[in-house]
């Protein structure tokens, strides 16, 4: 596959991805009904608990709870599980794999693969190694699943508004909002640029010409972005922009939100107490 097609595929993938997230966020499920602020608080509590935990069972139990949350939020479990576990083995899996052997993590051998005492050659899967690899895998998988759950059940604009209400730096929130919006405008531009090039191509390009193609596309984009930002600024001025932005939101906490935070804390402490002795 040529790199132009690769880029086109990347671009359409990003657009598809975000459109798909929005359709799930519009469903009428449990997490969709919660106030985004509540979701962010619970998300951070869970994320911290998972990353601070020194107990494998604790992390796995949290993951099971996430599956339940996904289920009652009308997210297809098959999608929720495969989205994480399909790509995870290729990245974290490859990184975690060597750690199971004795030359990286010494410990009690569970499965001896090669044992040649004459040449001091000994390869085995160790108990500590297996635990280390499992720790990394489950921790990463649970953290990533938490993020997916938050983003899938919250439209992006509400998520950012909620962050603003939670006193994240406002200038950063506003820039993130605007950036997210214009990523898609620029994606459209790049898409047409590559498509236009592809539709005019008959022969093959050399590597060098391909690199020039990418860099000239980028150079042109820098110019276009500059012009576009100027136009947007003019449009903002003509609509009365005076260096101050107000973010409107219509959030209201319900009794459900109260109980969700209580439940999150209860789950975390409950699991902690259950697995404390392990």
């Amino acid at each position: 596959m040529s790199f132009i097609e690769k880029n086109l595929e990347n671009i359409t993938g990003a657009i598809q991805n975000s459109v798909f997230s929005e359709t799930i966020a519009k469903k009428d499920g449990f997490l969709q009904r919660l106030d985004p602020r509540t979701k962010i608080v619970c998300f951070i509590l869970f994320l911290l608990a998972v990353n601070l935990s020194v107990n494998l069972y604790f992390i796995i139990s949290v993951y099971i709870f996430l599956l339940i949350f996904a289920g009652i939020s009308k997210i297809s479990l098959k999608f929720f599980i495969t989205r994480v576990w399909l790509f995870l083995p290729f990245f974290t899996g490859i990184i975690a794999l060597p750690a199971i052997f004795n030359f990286f993590t010494p410990g009690k051998p569970l499965l001896t693969l090669i044992n040649n005492p004459q040449q001091h050659f000994f390869i085995a899967v160790t108990q500590n190694g297996l635990l280390t690899a499992l720790f990394l895998l489950t921790r990463v998988a649970t953290s990533v699943s938490l993020g997916i759950l938050l983003v899938l059940t919250t439209p992006w604009i509400r998520l950012l508004k909620a962050l603003d209400r939670l006193h994240a730096p406002q200038i950063l929130i506003i820039m993130t909002m605007m950036t997210y919006r214009y990523i898609f405008v620029l994606l459209e531009t790049v898409n047409s640029m590559f498509l236009a090039r592809k539709s005019r191509m008959v022969g093959r390009f050399t590597q060098w010409e391909n690199r020039h193609l990418v860099s000239s596309a980028l150079g042109t984009l820098f110019g276009k972005t500059q012009v576009l930002s100027e136009e947007i600024y003019q449009a903002m001025l003509s609509r009365g922009y005076r260096n101050k932005i107000y973010i409107l939101s219509d959030f209201s906490l319900t009794i459900l939100d109260f109980w969700s935070i209580v439940a999150t804390t209860a789950i975390i402490f409950g699991l902690f107490l259950i697995w404390r002795t392990q």
């Binding site: 690769k6 190694g129 635990l131 990394l136 990533v144 200038i171 950036t179 590597q207 990418v214 110019g223």
Partner: protein, 331 residues
């Protein structure tokens, strides 16, 4: 290079968030000073572009493709502080909405890819580009700056990952986060970045700049004050400071630097003899802090750091004295 959640301990993550804060505050102050009310639309749009650059596949020699970060080209065109901000916003969006890089590790990713790459890349570019006036030389400087900056960022990421098993282990001794030490994480990380990612960054930085010089040179912000090398003095200090902080890494490599053996090590090498000249001269000078060790400090890690600072101090003083003696004026 986007570190996901679960690879770093929360302690490391929060430390790096804290380290990022002053840089980002300074950056947003600089941006407001330069752009005033244009700050928000301009930075947002260029952040969107920065997000796109990270998504691009760059064709590399050998038929593979690689991704560039793009902080260096943004820093050269928009200035290091704005370049830093645009990459930061792009990284936030990647972490929040696209699951690229973790939420807790966002501080680490911002530090490596936005802050260090912007400052180091820009400083290297200015340093090299200041030598000659030709455009061709500037393009080469930009490519070199991109290459070095991404590798510096990768090195920092490798160090952040590699210190995890040293600091965080369970009671039974198994690593809790990233399992490999620095001796594994640094070579593994650098292999990919010295080759593929480094080249991608070099190509993107150099070729894009060359395209802009040819078609739209007004885009590059002329910053007259920056032309003076004196402005980079503080930056140079920061970089030297960072390098000193990295010196204890040397402790991890086994053995002595090639060609720097002592008399005893030389005999252990199995050479069979000690060169006669070596024997004659070797007792001539015994260093006050042999092996960079300060027995008073009782800790080789601290000793290394102290040696680093002392060494830099001595070099700077000697150069300063030479300048004084020969009455050279630093123009």
């Amino acid at each position: 290079m986007h570190i996901p959640d679960g690879y770093l301990s929360p302690t490391t993550s929060f430390t790096l968030y804290t380290v990022c804060t002053p840089f980002l505050m300074k950056a947003s102050r600089e941006a407001k000073k330069k752009l005033d009310s244009k700050t928000i639309p301009l930075i947002s749009l260029f952040s969107a572009l920065s997000f796109l650059i990270m998504m691009f596949n760059v064709p590399l020699p050998g038929g593979t493709t690689g991704h560039a970060v793009g902080t260096v080209i943004s820093s050269i065109i928009l200035g290091p502080w704005i370049g830093m901000l645009t990459t930061t916003v792009a990284l936030i969006i990647q972490a929040l909405f696209f699951g690229d890089g973790g939420i807790l590790t966002l501080g680490a990713n911002i530090f490596n890819m936005a802050i260090v790459m912007a400052l180091a890349g820009y400083a290297i570019f200015r340093f090299l580009a200041g030598w000659k006036k030709e455009t061709g030389w500037k393009i080469v400087s930009a490519a070199v700056a991109g290459y070095i900056a991404i590798n510096l960022a990768a090195l920092l990421a490798a160090v952040e990952l590699g210190i995890q098993p040293i600091i965080f282990r369970s009671i039974t001794g198994q690593p809790l986060y990233f399992p490999y030490g620095l001796t594994v994480s640094i070579p593994a990380m650098m292999l990919g970045h010295l080759t593929l990612a480094g080249l991608a960054e070099a190509f993107v930085t150099g070729l894009t700049l060359s395209w802009i010089y040819r078609t739209n040179p007004s885009l590059i912000t002329p910053d007259k004050k920056v032309a003076k090398s004196g402005r980079f003095f503080p930056l140079a200090i920061v970089i030297i400071f960072l390098l000193i902080l990295l010196t204890p890494l040397g402790l991890l490599t086994p053995g002595t630097a090639w060609g720097e053996w002592s008399r005893q090590q030389l005999s252990e090498l199995g050479l069979g003899y000690i060169p006669a000249g070596f024997d004659r001269w070797t007792g001539l000078w015994s260093a006050p802090f042999s092996g960079y060790n300060f027995s008073v400090l009782g800790n080789s890690f601290l000793g290394y750091l102290f040696s680093g600072f002392l060494g830099v101090f001595i070099v700077v003083s000697v150069v300063y004295l030479l300048f004084k003696v020969f009455k050279l004026k630093n123009k």
